[in-house]
Amino acid sequence: MPLAVYPGCSLTGSSREYMESVEQILKTFEIPYTFVEDWNCCGATAAHNLNRKVAEALPARIIALAEKQGADEILVPCAACYNRLKSSQKKMDEDKVLKGQLSEMVGMPLDNGIKILNVLEVIEQSIVPKLNEKIQAPLNFKAACYYGCLLVRPGNVLNFDREEDPQSMDRIVEILGATPVKWSFKTECCGAGFTVSRTDIVSRLSGDILIDAVEHGAQALIVACPMCHANLDMRRKDIEKATGRKFDIPVIYLTQAIGMALGIDHQKLGLNRHFVPVSI
């Protein structure tokens, strides 16, 4: 069965370049995929902040849809969506009654057996083994891999990498030719969903991340989450205002970085959509 892809809202809107680059590399490595048809929003932070049931039901509907399509695996590039889906899946696993209720709510059968993968897992599984031979333009910069919160935490739900000092992205970036820097803010929070409502907090937290990356000599930040990207890239002006420092370090999605190393046109990877220009 082709891989089911759940894009989520950001990847069709403000972070569409992430989706563009994901598709580019899936195509390059000839990984068959289809989108989850008629998908809905995962509910993000808002749902579990205000309404517990909705917070579980929205991801449940997505899982049910993917299963209806017959997929065994679903790729969720957005870290926030990934986190929501995984956490709902675990809750349903532990609570069969809840699973029954949710199945009824979404009006679809729910097996809940589908494997939910984040972008790093798909890359490690299906791309890394063939990556070396396809590299055209090895990256030649120092990269700070930024994992953020939602990709690695909580460890007992997601458990795919070391919580406090994850390595998977660093390993991939190294294959691409870049030098991953050892730095301290790999998993600190960027401010996440407060980008609109508490921009000051986002600016401070994201600022700390940029400072640490730059001080450890990074020339680019590599991310795998649209929220992190939005905060670190689109909020750059606010960050500079808050910290009183100038930063020209670009923020690149891991999939874009892979695309760059494969020699794919920057436009196709959506690099032109960034607020902070990517000129490395």
């Binding site: 000092d165 050892k182 301290s184 803010f185 640490d212 001080e215």
Partner: protein
């Protein structure tokens, strides 16, 4: 033919006020097999006891039932009286008419009836009693002590000073254990080496102590008083008799960059090395994993250098055998490294060290000669942070228990630092201060009040490096959980105290129990703290749980006194109430089918299956054998045996069934 005497006691009026003692005596005299029956005011008094003795002699009694107070009170008294009259003491049983009858029931017919029932029950039991002889096992008066830390040293010296032979086996090239690594010791701040070294030397010189270093227990067989120990003495690659300990070889060895275990990796050593200047024995060993000769086949520089021609590169491990009567386990503990903790950098930062590493920095014999300098660049830290419970009391990432010693050594470390770096700032992040001990609380208060160590109640969430500083993110819970950030030059983690490496392997070898953390289990948490479940094997020091030096030494002396007690006789007398398998000699008759259920049931590993051979030496069957040295008489095996082949002397099925029948068929 049973010839039983029954003796009913009034206990003044304690019994007779509610029980009609005369009637009990009358009824008893009618019981089958009862030849003599009498009641008396005070059975335990001299005239009372004489009454029994005379009756035994006069009527040639072969069984006695005393109906009086609890057997827990006077069973020994009456059994002794019987023995004095020439009757086997185990032919005497006690019916408890006081604690179980007169004191708990009202006066009346039913109460007297109960008393009669109890007497009948014991009369029936006695009919089924057999004379028993106390079990004696010979005792080899030589002790094996495993582990040469302060615990093992103390136990060895105590036993040896009592005049017994001791074999002291140490895994490392030198004795001394962790105490030899310490700088100064709480709560007095006296120098650890100064108080330890004389004892180490005494061990080496003691005529009763055979010290075997660089060695481990290979196997232990046998039982209390009669163990056979095999010791593997690893090849040191030198002839210890010829070596003078001049140390010349160590200066010539080209492999100089090996992290020194003694200095906790903060200094280096060579492949042929004496672990530290005060080592006992003060002679080198060659670390085969690091020596070029062993890894690549060439070098032999040490061999050429040695003026005494003591190097033996072809030396092999030796197996030594000893008969010993008791074993003391004193194998100590270990501390976790800093890589134990993900949020503290997975061991990535050089200047985040363990408490034990700090000891080496603070020690005058250490790599910095006692100056507190940080490992990365040798700078004297201006701000130092101590983190308590780094891995202890942490079910999520570490261990759930409290390591007990760290609160104290943190206070000590902070004080030592402040004494050496007057302008420095010392911070301690802690959750609770556990300083229960004589002068311990006072010691901690001194650190806070006099040396101005800043104690902050809160746990550290994270440590990371920025611009050559270690950023320590903690919180002050006494300020409502206010986050606190300290940019420190050095961080000392009080990492958890854990069991010594391969502790469980040793426990399995000697058959003692251990807890889920691989610390050895004492026989009773309060009343048998130095005994183990296996008779003849004792515990000393931190192999049982993390503990400080005073406790270790107290426990070692306790274990030693148990050993000395055991050695005070050449034979060991034990209560004969132990399990036996119904075997009859030859050709062996037994109903035992060799199923081994009893073997697994026995909590003391007292049962083995053994081959039974006919006269020609052919194995005819396998049957259980109870080792009288190990059996404690709990009877668990009896309940497990389906073929009813094993029984407890004194509590045989026959005896108990007789009791039950007698109780219930009173008409």
């Amino acid at each position: 033919m049973s010839r039983i005497g029954v003796f009913i006691c009034h206990c003044g009026e304690n019994i007779s006020a509610t029980v009609d003692c005369e009637r009990v005596a009358r009824e008893a005299s009618l019981m089958e097999g009862v030849l003599y029956s009498i009641d008396y005011k005070y059975m335990c008094s001299d005239p009372g006891q004489n009454l029994i003795k005379e009756a035994i002699k006069e009527h040639n009694l072969n069984g006695v039932v005393v109906a009086a107070c609890s057997p827990r009170m006077h069973e020994p008294t009456f059994r002794n009286a019987c023995a004095e009259a020439g009757l086997n003491p185990y032919m005497c049983e006690i019916a408890n008419l006081r604690e179980h009858v007169s004191w708990v029931h009202e006066k009346g017919d039913a109460t007297t009836q109960k008393a009669i029932d109890l007497v009948r029950m014991l009369v029936e039991k006695v009919k089924n009693n057999k004379p028993l002889l106390p079990i004696t096992v010979p005792v080899t008066r030589r002790a094996l002590v495993l582990g040469g830390g302060i615990g093992g040293i103390q136990a060895s010296l105590d036993i040896a000073n009592a005049g017994h032979q001791v074999i002291l086996v140490e895994r490392d090239p030198s004795i001394g254990g962790h105490m030899s690594q310490l700088s100064e010791t709480f709560p007095t701040l006296d120098c650890s080496q100064c108080i330890l070294t004389p004892r180490m030397v005494e061990v080496a010189r003691h005529p009763n102590i055979t010290l075997i270093t660089y060695a481990e227990l290979e196997s232990l067989e046998g039982f209390i008083g009669n163990f056979k120990a095999k010791i593997r003495k690893k090849a040191k690659s030198i002839d210890e008799k010829l070596c003078t300990g001049c140390g010349l070889c160590t200066t010539k060895c080209p492999n100089k960059k090996i992290p020194s275990e003694f200095n906790e990796g903060l200094g280096t050593r060579t492949a042929i090395y004496i672990p530290f200047p005060q080592a006992v024995p003060n002679k080198p060993v060659i670390d085969k994993t690091q020596c070029t000769y062993y890894t690549k086949g060439k070098c032999r520089l040490c061999e050429k250098t040695c003026p005494a021609q003591a190097i033996r590169l072809d030396q092999e491990d030796e197996i030594l055998e000893f008969d010993v009567g008791a074993v003391v386990l004193a194998t100590g503990f270990n501390v976790k490294g800093t890589d134990f903790f993900p949020e503290y950098g997975y061991g990535n930062y050089q200047d985040v060290i363990t408490g034990l590493q700090f000891e080496r920095l603070a020690s005058a014999s250490g790599p910095t000669l006692g100056e507190i300098r940080r490992p990365s660049d040798g700078k004297i830290p201006e701000k130092i942070v101590f983190v308590a419970c780094a891995g202890s009391r942490d079910p999520a990432k570490g261990i759930e228990y409290c390591s007990k010693i760290c609160c104290m050594y943190i206070a000590k470390h902070a004080m030592l630092y402040k004494h050496k770096v007057h302008q420095g700032n010392a911070y301690v992040f802690y959750m609770d201060i556990r300083a229960g001990g004589k002068m311990y609380e006072e010691f901690v208060r001194r650190a806070i009040e006099e040396d101005d160590v800043k104690y902050i109640r809160g746990r550290v969430s994270r440590i990371y490096e920025r611009n050559g500083k270690l950023i320590v993110k903690g919180a002050d819970t006494l300020m409502g959980g206010k986050p606190i950030e300290i940019d420190a030059d050095m961080v000392v983690l009080a990492t958890a105290g854990v069991a010594s490496p391969k502790a469980e392997e040793l426990a399995q070898k000697v058959h003692v129990s251990y807890d889920q953390h691989n610390f050895y289990a004492e026989a009773h948490p309060k009343l048998k703290p130095v005994e183990t479940n296996t008779a003849g094997i004792f515990l000393a020091g931190s192999c049982q749980a993390p503990k400080d030096i005073p406790e270790t030494v107290a426990m070692a002396s306790g274990a030693a006194s148990k050993v000395i007690g055991l050695f005070s006789n050449s034979e060991l007398k034990r209560d004969p109430s132990i399990a036996v398998v119904n075997r009859m000699p030859p050709p062996t008759y037994t109903t035992c089918v060799g199923c081994g259920l009893c073997v697994t049931a026995c909590p003391y590993q007292a049962i083995q299956l053994e081959d039974i051979k006919d006269r020609k030496g052919n194995v005819v069957k396998r049957a259980a054998y109870v080792n009288p040295g190990l059996c404690q008489g709990c009877g668990t095996c009896v309940a497990f045996c389906r073929s009813k082949s094993i029984d407890i002397e004194g509590y045989t099925s026959q005896q108990i069934v007789a009791e039950i029948s007698a109780l219930l068929n009173d008409e």
